[in-house]
């Protein structure tokens, strides 16, 4: 079935980005890979529910997110592996400064509420539009926009990023950032 072969290719092409998203959700490479594998199996088994002509990548992300959500509820009390095996398993970055900086950034990202974190990642890293991210998360576009804004503001706060005045309309947060 050549149609299935096409689907297989699209799925394969989506794997790197699915993994990156899965790792950002669960902070652990092995669990993330299991999640991606389960996503692909689930997608394959439910191909008939995919609407041809729509974004398959967004569809796969939706499945992955839902799987993670249901698993996350079960494992809520487990501590996330913020900078353990995940960080160790990654190829080294070109220079140590960017590695250190990225470590700080990752820790800050993990302090965000999950809703905000996933919205920011879908829009800011996975390259989805606000509309696609809303579809993936099953919420309104406005909700995604506000989550992304709050995520950025909070990150700026956590990282005490300079030049907070360039950012967002949230004066209260800016005041907090400036006074600290």
């Amino acid at each position: 079935m050549s149609q299935r072969n096409d689907v297989r290719d699209v799925m394969l092409a989506a794997v790197p980005s699915l993994r990156a998203f899965a790792i950002s959700l669960c902070g652990n490479v092995d669990r993330a890979d299991d999640l991606v594998q389960e996503t692909l199996l689930r997608a394959w088994a439910n191909l008939n529910s995919f609407q041809p002509g729509t974004n398959m990548s967004a569809w796969l992300f939706t499945i992955l997110r839902n799987l993670f959500r249901s698993e996350y509820r079960k494992r809520r009390h487990e501590v996330e592996d913020v900078d353990g095996s995940y960080a160790d398993s990654l190829a080294s970055l070109p220079d140590q400064n960017s590695r250190l900086e990225l470590g700080e950034f990752r820790k800050a990202l993990n302090l965000l509420p999950p809703d905000q974190r996933e919205s920011l990642i879908l829009v800011g890293a996975s390259g989805f539009s606000y509309e696609e991210a809303a579809q993936i998360c099953g919420c309104a576009v406005g909700t995604i926009k506000s989550r992304v804004n709050r995520a950025r503001t909070r990150l700026a706060e956590i990282l005490s990023i300079d030049g907070a005045s360039d950012f967002g309309p949230d004066r209260e947060t800016r005041a907090v950032v400036n006074s600290s």
Partner: protein, 71 residues
């Protein structure tokens, strides 16, 4: 913000992140900076490509002779 002056003194923070007194300074353009970090973090994983296990798995799914004979 003025741009383009060749002798424009650098403002408080360099564009590249660095640490001062334990505070990470990420430069003035927060959105751009956060976006850059996000993409960097993401591309660390994306650049690893597709691990073999997924290639194998999808191949198996695709093989009709394997249908119904899952180990």
């Amino acid at each position: 913000m003025t741009r383009g002056g060749p002798l424009q003194p650098k403002k408080k923070a360099d564009v590249r992140g660095y640490k001062t007194n334990g505070v990470v300074k990420l430069g003035p353009d927060i959105k751009a900076r956060i976006g850059q970090q996000l993409r960097l973090m993401y591309s660390e994983v994306v650049d690893q490509g597709v691990p073999d296990r997924f290639v194998e798995m999808l191949k198996r799914l695709d093989d009709p002779t394997n249908r119904g004979s899952k180990q």
